[in-house]
């Protein structure tokens, strides 16, 4: 087990490296580090974006809920993962990071080029994190009396995404894009696993044939498979979280 002292040393080393003139600023890819957490859909989606661009990076795992001095130094305002360090630049907030990655590495753009399509992708991405996530979480914590209502309300929101993906392989069209990374990391490979632990089949084949097709298509994409938490380990961890929620 790594001690706090070792983390301090790592922190000092990284700080020195960041300030050092070793960095050849002509090589954009020279220093790229991602602070993440294996269960966090927010950090997983950044990994998807970096792999999509084919950009090599160093991954530093946070062992949440414990926060390393490094995380607190790099993201003092929110104290959260993901944090991307690109040479001397420090970025946090997953949507901000994703847009930065798309602009900085111009190969394989994952945001739509058309301004209206781009606005729609951003709108739905915000919807996933700010509406589906909190309401979806309610299905986990509501006592039995409230649970059916919470499930139905969550399904109503998910219906919007069903419409969005209808007639397309992915939200991004023929290949995955920004919204696939946001919705993919959050819904099938995070929330759905938590719902499964509670015995909830939220995204039924009957009500959501398009989304189920989308989830199958996502599973065919190598970088998505590489960037999702391993199922068994994830479900085990989710079970622990769910037990903790039930006991309070």
């Amino acid at each position: 087990m790594i001690s706090l002292y070792d983390f301090y040393i790592l922190n000092e080393k990284l700080k020195n490296k960041l300030r050092t003139e070793e960095f050849d600023k002509r090589k954009r890819d020279e220093c790229l580090k991602l602070l993440g957490f294996w269960i966090s859909p927010f950090s997983r989606r950044v990994e998807m974006a970096l792999k999509f661009k084919g950009v090599p990076y160093e991954y530093l795992e946070e062992d949440l809920p414990k926060k390393t001095p490094l995380l607190l130094e790099l993201n003092p305002i929110h104290k959260k993962v993901p944090v991307l360090v690109h040479n001397d630049k420090i970025l946090s907030e997953s949507h901000v990071i994703l847009e930065y990655i798309d602009l900085t590495w111009s190969n394989n753009p994952f945001l739509p080029q058309d301004p209206y399509e781009k606005a729609m992708a951003r709108f739905w991405a915000k919807f996933v994190d700010e509406q589906i996530l909190p309401l979806g979480f309610m299905s986990l914590v509501k006592a039995e009396t409230g649970i059916e209502v919470a499930i139905e309300e969550t399904r109503e929101l998910i219906t919007y995404l069903e419409k969005e993906v209808t007639g397309k392989y992915y939200f991004g069209g023929k290949t995955i894009g920004f919204l696939d990374m946001v919705a993919g990391s959050m819904i099938p490979f995070c929330l759905a696993r938590a719902w499964e632990c509670m015995g909830i089949d939220m995204i039924t084949h009957e009500k959501f044939p398009e989304l189920n097709r989308w989830i199958n298509k996502l599973n065919e994409v190598e970088i998505v498979r590489e960037c999702i938490p391993p199922k068994e380990k994830h479900i085990e961890r989710m079970n622990q979280i769910v037990e903790r929620i039930k006991s309070t």
Binding site: Y100, K118, R122, Y160
Partner: protein, 227 residues
């Protein structure tokens, strides 16, 4: 450059509605302003933004765009050859502008709104302290982003100026109601000068509500029913 009809569904008192209005002004795009009546939602609003049923909604050739900061980016990208750029050009500066805009909406504005809702002196003091903490962060952000220039975006107002500046009217109303200065020369010298410049900008002046009018409106909407 798009010449299709532009409409904006909104209300004069909403800081979120101010954002696309300023952006459209910066790009010299004429638009029809469709005012919602306070307390009710028009058919057009419900049809154009069925997900949130909120203003502002931009209708460009009848295609709706919702969420104020998303609308501002849409305006910048659609009328990119008009006026100066609203978003900074460098990816990192753009990321910083987006980061602070998100902070302002998710943390800072929530605290500001809580001042007017606070019950009792203790709660009011605690929330005021939160806003002041936020202001200190934004003062530093301003100094970092502006690099000695007059606005967050440099020589001209941009995305982050708009994202923060739209709240200045409500900030002043809150200061009056709470009897406490939040943005001033002593605590936030750079921001306080920036605020004056922002409000004087020709793209902002026509859409910034007068403080007295806003204060009257605030009294109406925050009026507590008498027992």
């Amino acid at each position: 450059m798009s010449s299709d009809e532009v409409k904006l569904i909104g209300a004069w008192a909403s800081p979120f509605v101010m954002r696309p209005r300023i952006a459209l002004n910066l790009k010299s795009v004429p638009y029809e302003f469709l005012q919602e009546t306070f307390g009710s939602k028009s058919e057009l609003l419900l049809k154009s933004n069925p997900v949130h049923k909120k203003i502002p909604v931009l209708l460009h050739a009848d295609k709706p765009v919702s969420e104020s900061n998303i609308i501002v980016e849409y305006i910048d990208e659609t009328w990119s050859s008009s006026g100066s750029s609203i978003l900074p050009s460098h990816p990192y500066d753009r990321a910083m502008a987006r980061f602070w805009a998100a902070y302002i909406d998710e943390k800072w504005f929530v605290s500001l709104r809580n001042i007017l809702k606070a019950e009792g002196e203790e709660e009011k003091k605690a929330v005021l302290a939160q806003v002041e903490e936020g202001n200190a962060l934004l003062e530093k952000a301003f100094n970092d982003c502006s690099n000695g220039k007059p606005f967050f975006n440099g020589d001209h107002i941009g995305y982050l100026d708009i994202a923060f500046g739209c709240f200045l009217g409500w900030l002043r109303v809150t200061e009056l109601a709470a009897g406490h200065q939040l943005l001033d020369e002593a605590k936030t010298p750079s921001l306080s000068k920036w605020a004056e410049r922002f409000c004087d900008d020709p793209a902002v002046k026509p859409v910034m509500p007068e403080t007295t009018k806003l204060a009257e409106f605030a009294k109406k909407i925050f009026a507590k029913p008498r027992a």
